[in-house]
Amino acid sequence: MSPGPAAALLAAVGAAALMADRLAAVAALAVVLLVVCLRAPAQRRAVYLFGAISTGIGVFVLSPFLWSSPEGTVLWAGPTIPVVGPLDLTTDELYEAGLNGLRLTALGLAFSAYALLLDHDRLVAAAGFARRSALAVALATRLVPSLERDAAGLSESVRGRGVALKGARGYAALLSPLVAGSLERATTLAEAMEARGFGRSASTRAPRVRWTTRDHLVLVVAAALIVAGALWL
């Protein structure tokens, strides 16, 4: 499948998950996306899956206490907190929390599949009218594995000096050098791109494989998924 239709399909699944109101439908979309993500190499997919799933769990755990619903059966009644109000847990709140958690997980998984499995270069090439923007998105997508590699390297350099990184504060110390490193890399990359003629007028494109019938069909399916998500799921 060409990366353009594949990206459109992933975006459509993510959008459908956001618009769908039925827990089972959103869960099914999330499971499909999870299965797709599992096609990526284990080492690369781990950080993405952790991010997508832990975000969803976070929403599921926290949102019942931040949003109150008068409907449903009360499962637990807690104290009243100033400003926040009464702390309780109802079946309706649990349902909404599950739905929102799954929506976020599905969205995260759609992005993970995009980052892990798509050929971003061909996506950039396909974007004839907005190549710079597409290239920026492709480079930003590579930021996650770059940061992961940098963090591992910085942590190793500290441990290699006999210093242990302990607790959240220890790992928080990596943040500043990570951000600075990203900025430095961005500058170096921009310099390398300029030296290779990026930004010149009258650039051309290497010939690419044309879309097949299946690619066109995928676009139709993607559009149908969005409609289904809005109307029926």
Partner: protein
Amino acid sequence: MALAAVSGLSFSYPSGRPALQDISFELEPGEVVALLGPSGSGKSTLLRALSGLVPHFHGGCFSGRVVVAGRDTRTVRPAELAGTVASVFQDPEDQVVMTVVGNEVAFGLENLGTPPAQIWPRVERALDVVGAGHLRSRRTVELSGGELQRVCLASALALEPELLLLDEPTSQLDSEAADRFLETVERSGATIVLSEQRVGRALELATRVLFVEQGRLLLDAPVAAGREWLAAERSAYVGACVPRTQALPASGERVLRLHGIAFAYGDADPVVDGVDLDIRRGEIVALAGPNGSGKTTLGKIASGLLEPDRGSVARSGRAFYLSQDPGRYLMRETALEEVALAVAGDLQRAQAALERVGLGWAFGHHPRDLSSGERERLALAAVEVGEPDLLVLDEPTRGLDPDRKRELSARLLEYAASGRAVLLATHDPGLPAHRRIELCVPGTQAPAGAREVRVAV
């Protein structure tokens, strides 16, 4: 007519640090020029001036003229010079734009407006020339540093430039791969300016030598005359700079014993398999072998950063590890604080360590403001300051100029003589060692972990 002419070039970065002072020379078509000098002397800046990146990209105070192929770099953007000029920078990871190797090589051709029908044939030709044809469909994030360097060279050669600027392009390659790399460069037919710390190779390839120090051009001569000047003025640059090893102490206490070590990354084949290694106090042991033979992995296992899948590790005392990437020693706001990290903030010891590596002037500098070679020395100081019982150094001469390499050699001998031990993972045969252990790439000439042990010097 000269392909490039530099006249009265002076340049200071926006920080005010003068990088180049009153430099003048010309480059004739087909010349191969070795650009030598200590780290931080201005070699990289001079290469960037030839490609127009200085001053366009970096800003700063620029005076004099640089004319390349009849175009003044002050009035022409670097992107417009691309194609006429091509550059390969020091760190290949920081210059890769695309996700797939073939697309990476095609990137420059597309920018230059190459007719589409010519792009893939030129990409394939360039990859074949550097011996990387088999990598065309691979993802760039999956390549080793050495493979990436070849891909970067292919990206430059695909442009068929008149002037090829190479900034320490073999820093991540083993000796054999570096030789092949430079042979490929020589065959390109372009005018080449090669900044290289492996001076012997650079001089074999070059027809002319430039020597830069503190931003000034001290030498511009044909190779033969250049060798004479270097022998008289900078002897470390023409060999005979490695101090002989001292006699190995009778039998020091064992600081490390590796037995039957095997390790694989994830589900891949083992990188090392069945390796035995003993290191005693007073010893310097060098792990040699081509890219991918497991030198780094074994160094990390020796220092406790990796646990082996199989086999046992017995360590007596502390082991510290110096990574081959100096970009990892940038945790603190000043060089002094960075070095003090390993000694619980002891600034006096940190000062002494910085002075030992010639960075006494950089106490208050941010580590990111240092040049690549200076960062290498900072990293060495940051690890060595802790005076561990076993010092594991991974490619410690990467980016070091010959003078600094000589100092490092002397320092290693001194370190071992003080009753500690050193394990080196290195491509550099010039570093002193009591034993050299040759590791083989698994599945090639010999089984993984096969080794030949010999006493050096």
